[in-house]
Symmetry: C2
C-alpha cells in the first residue's frame, strides 16, 4: 500500500504536513501486515506481550468485560486507528479488541515506535496527537453516558463516526457505510437493543438521519448537530498544525 | 525543582529508566513556572492558542459543560500530570481546567515538545505512555458510569487516586490526603452529593475506607479491591519497560 494514501497517513497528515522522509517512515510501519477474521478477539483483557496494530481496513470494537459479565464497548476503531497501543505500552492489555468485520492490520512493536520517533520526531508529536484524539473521543462517550439522553447520545455517536470516516477518506458529511449492528450500538451507548431501535426510528421520523441496511444517511446535518450539541473541536482541524 | 524528584520525572521514570540527558531535558520543560489560584478556570472550553502545563503541585479538575448547563467532571489531575495537552495539539480546548487548590504548573508549548522529542526520543514514548494512561483512566470512568453501581464506582475512584498518588510519591496504599469536596466527587461520579454522602457512610460502616476531613484512610484494601473489581493493570508497572 502506498503510505501517502493509507488511512493512517491521511490521519497523521491532518496534523503534520508530511515530508518525504516521514512518508517513508510511515511506510516502514506498515511492513508486517496481518489479516484477522470477524468475531474473534485479536487481543483480550489481561493478555501480556502482544503487539499493537495500525488498522488498514475493516472495523474493530474495543470493550471491557466486568466481573459480573456486563460488557461496555469503549469505542470502535476504523482504518487509520491504532489498536492496542495502550496494551503494548502497559505490557498487559486492559481491554479486549474484536474485529467487527474481517480486518487487515499492521503489527507495531515498541521498538518500531522508538525507531520512528528517533528518525522523524515530528511523527512522535503526530502519534501523540492521534492518541489525544482517541482520548477526546472516550471523554465524549463518558459525557454522553453521564449527561446526554438516548436520542442526543445516538445523534452524537453518528456525527462523530461520520467526521472520523471523512478524515480518512471513507465517508462524506451526507453519509457513510457502517457495519455496526444495533446490538453493538446498544453496548456502546449503554442502551438496550430495543431502545436503540426506537431511538433510530424517532430520528428517522424527524427527518434527521436514517441508519438502515448498513448505511447511515444524514438528511438534516444542522438539525442533528443541534440535537446532539455536537462541537467537533476535538475532531476538526484547519489544516496541519506543523507545516 | 530538581527534575529527578519532580512528580513528572517520577511518573515518566516509571516507564523509562531516565538517563542524565533525559533528566536535563525534563528539567528544561519545567522552565516557565506559573501559579494559579483555586476556583478560577486556567483554560476554558473553546479557548484557542493556550499553552499546555505540567502540574507541579496542587489538584486540578477537568470538566465539560453541556448546552443545558449540566457539568461532567472527566478527571482530576495531580502533580506530574499534563494539563491541556489535548488543547494545545487541537488548537482549541475541548474542556475546562479549574484548579481545586492553588497550583503551580510549568508551561509547555508544542515547540518544547518537538525539541524534547528530537533530542531525547525515548521521552516521546514516555509521554505517549503517560497520555495512554490518562486515556485508560477516562475509559475506567466510562465503565464506572456505564456499568458500576454507586458503591463500586466510588470504591474504584478512591483506589485509582491512591495508586496515582503513590506513583508520584504523594500517598501510600493505606491512605492519602485528598482536597476534593463531596460536591466535586458527585460531579465526577455522576451521583448527587446526598448519594455520595450515603455511599461514603456505607463504605465506612463496612470497615472498608474512610474519607473525612480531607483524608482517605483505606482500612481493608483487599475488600475494597474486590468490591470495585479493581484491576490496576492500567496504572501499575513492574519497573521501567525501557531500561
Amino acid at each position: 500500500m502506498d503510505a501517502l494514501h493509507s488511512p493512517f497517513a491521511r490521519k497523521l497528515g491532518a496534523f503534520v504536513a508530511l515530508s518525504e522522509k516521514e512518508v517513508s517512515a510511515l511506510d516502514r510501519m506498515h511492513g508486517r501486515r496481518k489479516v484477522f477474521p470477524a468475531g474473534k478477539d485479536m487481543v483480550h483483557q489481561g493478555q501480556t506481550d502482544q503487539a499493537a496494530y495500525i488498522l488498514a481496513s475493516g472495523w474493530v470494537c474495543s470493550y471491557k468485560i466486568l466481573a459480573d459479565g456486563a460488557r461496555q464497548i469503549v469505542d470502535f476503531q476504523i482504518p487509520g486507528d491504532f489498536l492496542g497501543l495502550r496494551s503494548v505500552l502497559f505490557r498487559t492489555s486492559d481491554h479486549n479488541i474484536e474485529p467487527v468485520t474481517k480486518v487487515e492490520a499492521s503489527e507495531v512493536l515498541v521498538s518500531d515506535l522508538l525507531e520512528t520517533f528517533s528518525e522523524t520526531p515530528r511523527l512522535a508529536t503526530a502519534v501523540l496527537w492521534a492518541a489525544s484524539r482517541d482520548e477526546a473521543m472516550v471523554v465524549e462517550h463518558l459525557v454522553s453516558i453521564g449527561r446526554r439522553d438516548a436520542k442526543e447520545r445516538t445523534a452524537h455517536f453518528l456525527l462523530e463516526l461520520g467526521a472520523r470516516l471523512k478524515l480518512v477518506g471513507l465517508g462524506a458529511t451526507s453519509g457513510y457505510a457502517c457495519p455496526l449492528s444495533q446490538y453493538l450500538l446498544a453496548d456502546a451507548l449503554g442502551l438496550s437493543a430495543v431502545h436503540i431501535n426506537r431511538v433510530l426510528r424517532e430520528l428517522r421520523e424527524h427527518g434527521l438521519v436514517t441508519f438502515q441496511h448498513g448505511q447511515v444517511e444524514i438528511h438534516d446535518l444542522d438539525g442533528l448537530v443541534e440535537l446532539a450539541d455536537f462541537d467537533k473541536t476535538y475532531l476538526d482541524h484547519d489544516g496541519p498544525l506543523l507545516k
